[in-house]
């Protein structure tokens, strides 16, 4: 149905795609996999009409076409469901589905017709909801389905799903996957982009991998396995990525008891972390992992719980004390919490430790520059000078700046929240190595991650959270994706399936 031949795309001097081939037939589900920055989004944005290719040809049903703009893509029957939800939550379901294409009578919005037209589409998706329901009342999973309903209402022939399950619970993901198979039998061509390789394995007829903007191979039916997909994506074996684990000391550095967070006031987390240990924290999105990290660091208040660093009890909700005791957090969202994008690398690196670079209240610019330059080298941040704004750095380099600003302060407890999200493999490896080096100095490390590979590859133990509470801790011998998921999901949810 759709064929892309030798597609290349350059942004200035950066080559995002070079000579990529891709095709898909009606009634086929193609899994598109690749690391962040491999060119998946660029390729799909070309299909969605967001970018025009520098060179190459696009054929639909054998006819060459040009896709200029999102409207043009819609007319060609291409529908793109983005990773972030693009719904207006102050409008009802029907209004969202037909946004910009509302039925009108004498220029007035015809609410009745709107709801009636929406109903059969929702039925098709097994979404038994009143089309008049406000989107803000829906769960993430239902909102994702409304996005797909929007695509169906445009009579799409090709559906692009970009990380559709990243914010869904297991049950919701399952519903979505079933829906994908159903649409497939109805003759829809579906491109399924996901980091959750088990889902790709489950749903895809064929898998296409991209690496560094080039085709990195293809797997047909029967060849789609977890490990083969990984090695195609990264071009090497998994064992090469994760550094060897260091031994763990017996000293307890951090212990927390009956800790709850504002989001989950009745939650209960208790665990210890030893010197040199990397404790992974797994859980579904919304399980309260980041909230726990923020409450431990003190940027968020928490209703109850004790926190103890090397025998010293900390006051809850006091960032200053946490920092003074050597408990640091490299937050989940580096752009809104980790960095001040408009400020320079130097200013970002020293923002949390300015008192070390100041005499009374005056900043000692000389020593500040010296240290920032030193850290730039030490953490391998690729930047011409320390004076450029961090907004001009790549994701990996930005993350290195975040890490450098905390890891150089001799942390006793370092919490990493999604340390490698959106970061390419090279920078990722460097970050892993830096983490292990830090652990070797006797620091207790907590690593929150949604990346299974990373959790399994890096942690000494994995704590699993569910609804604000700790549902179990796995030792290295018991590590498996299944064991983690069992703890992460409520038992009744599994029974429900």
């Amino acid at each position: 149905m759709l064929q892309l031949r030798q597609i290349s795309k350059e942004f200035g001097v950066v080559k995002a795609l070079s000579a990529v081939d891709f095709e898909i037939a009606s009634g086929e589900v193609v899994g598109l996999i690749g690391e962040n920055g491999a060119g998946k989004s660029t390729l799909m944005n070309i299909l969605g009409g967001v970018h025009t290719p520098t060179s190459g040809e696009i054929f639909i049903e054998g006819n060459p076409v040009q896709i200029h703009g999102a409207k043009a893509a819609e007319r060609l029957g291409i529908s793109f469901v983005h990773q972030e939800l693009n719904l207006l939550d102050n409008i009802d379901i029907a209004g969202n589905i037909f946004l910009g294409r509302e039925p009108r009578t004498f220029g007035m919005l015809d609410q009745k017709a709107l709801a009636e037209q929406a109903r059969p589409i929702l039925e098709k998706l097994d979404l038994h909801l009143d089309p008049r329901t406000s989107v803000s009342d829906l769960t993430n999973g239902q909102q994702q389905l409304v996005e797909i309903a929007k695509a169906l209402s445009m009579e799409a022939k090709l559906l692009i799903l970009d990380e559709p399950t990243s914010s869904l619970s297991i049950q919701e993901s399952d519903t979505l996957l079933k829906l994908v198979s159903k649409l497939k039998t109805q003759g829809m061509a579906i491109i399924f982009i996901s980091h959750r390789l088990t889902e790709v394995e489950q749903i895809a007829d064929r898998v296409v991998a991209l690496r560094d903007g080039e085709n990195a191979g293809e797997l047909g039916p029967g060849e789609i396995h977890h490990d083969s997909m990984i090695s195609m994506m990264i071009g090497r074996d998994l064992s090469e990525i994760y550094p060897e684990c260091n031994p763990v000391d017996s000293d307890k550095i951090l212990s927390i008891n009956n800790f709850s967070t504002q989001r989950w006031p009745f939650g209960n987390a208790s665990f210890d972390v030893h010197a040199g240990e990397i404790l992974g924290i797994a859980g579904l999105v919304g399980a309260g992992r980041s909230e726990l990290a923020q409450a431990l660091f003190g940027v968020d208040s928490s209703p109850s719980g004790d926190i103890n660093v090397s025998g010293k009890v900390l006051e809850r909700g006091n960032v200053k004390e946490a920092i003074a005791s050597g408990l640091f957090l490299a937050p989940e969202d580096r752009k809104t919490s980790g960095l001040i994008l408009g400020m320079s690398i130097r200013e970002n690196m020293t923002l949390n430790s300015l008192d070390r670079f100041s005499n009374r209240s005056k900043i000692d610019f000389h020593s500040e520059r010296e240290k920032a330059n030193e850290w730039l080298q030490e953490f391998g941040v690729k930047a011409p000078t320390i004076e450029i704004p961090v907004s001009s750095l790549s994701g990996g380099n930005q993350q290195k700046v975040v890490l450098s600003k905390w890891m150089t302060l001799e942390p006793k407890v370092m919490i990493f929240d999604e340390p490698t999200r959106g970061i390419d493999m090279g920078a990722r490896q460097e970050i892993y190595q830096a983490m292990v080096r830090l652990a070797e100095t006797g620091c207790a490390i907590i690593m929150i991650s949604s990346d299974m590979e990373e959790l399994l590859g890096m942690s000494h133990r994995i704590a699993v959270m569910r609804e604000g509470s700790l549902s179990g801790i796995l030792n290295r011998d018991d590590f498996s994706e299944k064991a983690i998921m069992t703890l992460a999901v409520h038992q009744s949810e599994l029974v429900g399936n």
Partner: protein, 349 residues
């Protein structure tokens, strides 16, 4: 990677642009206010009315008074907020100051001028703390809190004076020293200007050399990230509002003396807007996190020299508002479309 080079011009482009504008406006005014009877062109320029001692003295006094509170406004804008109450506070502080000198209000005791100044400054710190607390801690919007101030403080001043003017010539104690302090001269420079230079120095230190300034710029750009770095954002943000009202009070003392009586219904009208205009023209962004002391000073100076030009050259004074508006709009447009880059490019090619 030429964009990433931080040359002098790139880093201080806003200041350089403003200085150029300032130069042209001043030059224009000098030429058209030149003394036509002088011998020789150069001599006629030197004897121009713009460069006359009286005009320069007047201009520097104005700059002193406007500059002090504009710097305060600059700090608040850099923190990502706004203070609309500056003009009304100008009236309230002036009124309270004169009542303190004369003791003619039932609730306000008369006192020596030195105590009166201290009381006004303490009062301003209290008002600023209230603003800071409501905005930084209670998390009300700055626009709304200070809008209430804009209405309330002027109304309060009008109530206190029964909506008439209040002077200070029947002061209870000797005010000879006060005259020297607020209206005197040092080395031929008006007291307000000298106060302004001192204030500028302090604010320059605070904003560009101290930890406080770094924190203020950081929280203006991204409050959450600043908090995640352990910055006490509530305290720093609150401090910006305290500084703004304190500087307003200092300026209010000079203004009250300069106008010799305070009519609360018109005293300091629209001053908050002049301050915002000066700060924005000087390169502060209302989104916060951006701005320099030199920029704010230059922005304020440009506005005042424009006003001076209109007065000296006898342009229709109503029209001066239009000119001011166009200059501000032009300045922001130049910044928005990064026009200096075009200049730099045409120079290199």
């Amino acid at each position: 990677m030429e964009i990433q080079k931080s040359s002098f011009f790139n880093r201080y482009r806003k200041e350089v642009c403003l200085a150029v504008i300032l130069f042209f406006v001043a030059f224009w005014t000098i030429i058209f206010s030149r003394n036509t009877e002088a011998s020789g062109f150069l001599q006629s320029l030197i004897e121009s009315r713009f460069l006359s001692l009286r005009n320069l003295e007047n201009l520097s006094r104005q700059l002193g008074m406007y500059g002090i509170f504009s710097l305060g406004m600059g700090l608040v804008i850099i923190s990502g907020g706004i203070d609309l109450s500056v003009g009304s506070l100008m009236a309230l502080f002036g009124t309270v100051f004169f009542f303190l000198l004369t003791g003619s209000h039932a609730w306000i005791p008369g006192m020596h001028w030195s105590f009166a100044i201290i009381v006004v400054l303490l009062f301003s710190v209290a008002v600023g703390s209230l603003h800071g607390w409501l905005i930084a801690k209670v998390r009300l919007q700055a626009f709304i809190v200070t809008l209430c101030g804009l209405l309330g403080y002027r109304g309060l001043a009008q109530t206190m004076t029964h909506d008439t003017a209040i002077g200070y010539y029947d002061a209870k104690y000797d005010i000879g020293g006060l005259e020297h302090l607020l209206n005197g001269e040092l080395l031929g420079l008006p007291a307000a200007f000298i106060a302004f230079v001192l204030v500028s120095g302090v604010i320059f230190y605070l904003l560009h050399l101290s930890v406080f300034g770094r924190y203020l710029l950081a929280l203006g750009r991204n409050e959450q990230a600043a908090r995640y770095s352990g910055v006490n954002t509530v305290f720093i943000m609150g401090l910006a509002y305290v500084a703004c009202t304190l500087l307003t009070a200092i300026s209010a003392l000079f203004f009250a003396r300069y106008s010799s009586d305070v009519t609360p219904s018109i005293h300091g009208n629209f001053f908050e807007l002049y301050a915002i205009a000066g700060a924005v023209l000087g390169g502060c962004s209302l989104r916060g996190g951006e701005g320099t002391v030199v920029g704010i000073i230059l922005g304020t100076t440009v506005l005042l020299v424009l006003q001076n030009m209109v007065n000296l050259l006898g342009y229709d004074s109503s029209f001066s508002k239009v000119i001011t508006a166009l200059v501000i709009l032009g300045g922001v447009l130049v910044d928005r479309f990064e026009i200096w880059k075009l200049l730099a490019r045409s120079k290199t090619s």
